[in-house]
Amino acid sequence: MADLGRICLPLALLICVYGIGASIYGVRSGRIEFSDSGRRAVYALAIVLSVAFAVLEIAFLRNDFAFNTVADTSSRTTPTFYRAAAVWSSQEGSLLLWAWLLSLWSSLALFLVRRRMRDIAAYATAILLGFGAFFISLMIFYASPFSTTNPAPAEGVGLDPLLRFPTMMIHPPMLYSGYTLCTIPLAFGMGALLARRVDADWIKAIRRFAFAAWLFLGIGILLGARWSYAELGWGGYWGWDAVENASLMPWLTGTAFLHSLMIQEKRGMLKVWNVSLVLATGTLAIMGTFLVRSGILNSIHAFGGATLGVPFVALIGVLIAGSIYLVVLRREMLRSQHRLDSLLSREAIFLGNNIVLVALCFVIFWGTYFPLISEAFTGTEASVGPPWFDRYTVPLALLLVLLSGIGPVIAWRRATFANARRNFAAPLLSALVTLIVLLAAGVAHKTLAIAMFCCAAFVLGSIGQEFFRGTRARRAMAGEPLPLALVALVRRNRRRYGGYVVHLGIAVLFVGVAASSSFQHAVEQRLSVGSSTHVGKYTVRYVRPTATITPKNDAVHTGSTLNVGAVLDVSKGGRHVATLRPSEGFYDSGEPAQGTVGHLIGGQAVSHISMSAGVTRDVWTAIAPDISTPALQRIITIGNRTLPADQGVVALAVLAREYLKNPPAAQFHFIVSPLVMWIWIGGLIVLGGGLIAIWPTPSAVRRRVTMRSRARAAHGLARA
């Protein structure tokens, strides 16, 4: 099997080299058959890499520990569901995933434009295959997923327990889909510059892919935040970590592009800006991959050999230099056809939104790469913490949410006073009512949170008004009932109303962020059985301990050998609210040196948090039980000394019984976060809006069908 995988990689590289040559020769010489052949090389690449990926996935599912990457990141005790996801937990597997997704998305993009923009598409093909060649070369020369050891080890190390969480199955493919999709607009942007065709055609062709990249990156970021909140045992969802920031930066520039491209489509303006944003987004996506895989910055995510640093730096250098060269070279063609008429216009608001998004990206870029910057200037590596990020990002986020409410209702070209009064009365009233209610509720001291709630109310008012007016007009024209009119309104203009839903989702998400960060109560407390503590208005009592071995029957079995936890009673004002069961899972280390019993619990220990989630608040708990007491340690020592290798679990049963009989005090982490669920609800609204916007409109489908039948008719006539 490994041989098949090993053959696939050089074959894939050969296909890339051929495809690059054929595409460039085809477009330079005007021989379309070569450009077409280059495009087909991308399809062939997708097939070959699909085979390679299938080989690796099968090796994981069959526990083929002859593959080094399988032995390093999987084991027989890893549940099947997580074995399948372990493919992309290693460096080699994630590089293969990157290249494979790139080939699939590139095939789709090039297939959709196969009869249009042949010159731009040919250059784009060469650039996309160039990325493919880069990643395949990394696998051939630096980190092969198909390297093997003979004889194969009997057992693997196992997937890291922290990654044994359902969203981890889809988080990396989503993020990598986002990253790879970001390279498609970059390839077409560079292609348009090379082919000297910088009108709005190429933008229309890649619009959907830019949107898909934005959507996938967004889903990936949100899933990562959810994993952090529900699995990592610290109760937070965002920590301004370098790897988190790396995924957020292309998402921000991508968001800016999705707005400014409308100005180029409608008014022929901002061409330099748009092409620069596309190139920056693609480069930031590659930098994101580089950051995760190079180990160049201290991150809670990625450490280890920095073997891939040099090739990535070279690629990023080429991308930045190439982008600047092309934009400068074609600057005459990129001149705007119109000027900004007024600062009170939709164009100006979009431009403002772009500036805020790019400023956010710059702040995050500076903070993320500050350790390298400070080392270069001062000789000492220094880093900035979350308070520094918050100081700049919070006001910018406030401004962004406000602009997302103004943009949809302000007029194109020039807004008049009458127009402003008509469009802004309802949103302003909505913000004002929110402000009065909040002040009456006595939360005046949390200024930034109040400002965010008011901005969100403004957005809600503005989007609500747009839907109301659109539906009313539709009902007046077609006489449809309200639900039908609403559906018809959205169906007729999916991009516009999908975008509005996205704005609404972002506002809801920020309400969740502002409330949960400003009004959170967190307590770290050591408790014995029967004792209790207060968290905000809640009382939490440690009712009894829990300890189970071989928890394969658990609903959320992750392969741990011992689970030690607690049953907690949560009450408010004497009334029972919830029963929580946090625990910590102990995993097999696979190290015989730790002893017959010791190795069974000597691996990673992972918190299994427990929470009572609600639309108004989450009560979140994690436990760090103490199994280092002399009585428990004595059981492990005696077990190590007396039990045969396959009977260690007997001592674990004794240990669990002893823990239940004489439970030592345990360390607990309690958090009460208001409205945190609205972050996930907001995310789902954004996803829904994104899907509405990305779906082809009926008119576009009709246009495509008409064009196809026209082409067929023309072909038939020509033959006749």
């Binding site: 390093d72 990141t73 937990s89 290693s90 460096q91 994630s94 190390v157 890291d160 922290l162 990654l163 990592l232 045992g233 610290w234 109760g235 790897v243 995760v292 895989r293 201290n298 809670i300 995510h301 990625a302 450490f303 280890g304 050999g305 000027r339 400023a359 710059f362 702040v363 500076w366 500050f370 350790p371 400070s374 001062t378 000492t380 590596e381 220094a382 880093s383 900035v384 913490g385 308070p387 520094w388 100081r391 700049y392 770290e524 407390q525 050591r526 910590e584 280390s589 696979g590 190290e591 000597g602 691996g603 990673q604 220990a605 992972v606 918190s607 760090a624 103490d626 360390q667 982490h669």
Partner: protein, 138 residues
């Protein structure tokens, strides 16, 4: 004011604002940053009241819970100088003796107080079988 002059004024104002904001950003990043030091460097350079990010390995046998406080020592990766840290806040799951950690500390007399929730250990986007003594290299 003619349109072209108006545009120039706008551009100058916008650029000046951008330069001012960027300068503030750069200035605060240098003044608010915590230098990343090893325990040996920290012992030599630390000044009371200033934050430092210390990277090192948790010394075997040094971890103790005292109420809600977690006390441990951090040594250079290659061993040698170790500094005592009194820490409160969230302790990440992978934290244990022998692991590499990063924690932001301030010097208080002869010991170092960790900033709340600043303790991070290495997490597993990428890991491999490690050299003897340590199962995984986070």
């Amino acid at each position: 004011m003619n349109p072209s002059r108006k545009r120039t004024v706008r551009l100058v104002v916008a650029l000046s604002a951008a330069v001012l904001l960027a300068s503030a950003l750069i200035y605060t990043s240098f003044s608010a940053a915590s230098p990343a030091l090893s325990p040996t460097q920290l012992v030599r350079q630390a000044q009371p009241g200033r934050s430092y990010q210390v990277t090192g390995t948790v010394v075997h046998g040094s971890v103790r819970h005292a109420g809600n406080e977690l006390d441990f020592s951090v040594a250079d990766r290659a061993g040698g100088t170790a500094i005592p840290v009194d820490y409160t806040g969230t302790v990440p799951d992978p934290f244990r003796e022998g692991r590499e950690v990063i924690v932001t500390v301030q010097k208080h007399g002869g010991h170092y107080v960790g900033e709340r929730d600043s303790l991070i250990t290495k997490c597993p986007s990428k890991y491999k079988t490690a050299p003897a003594g340590e199962k995984q290299n986070y």
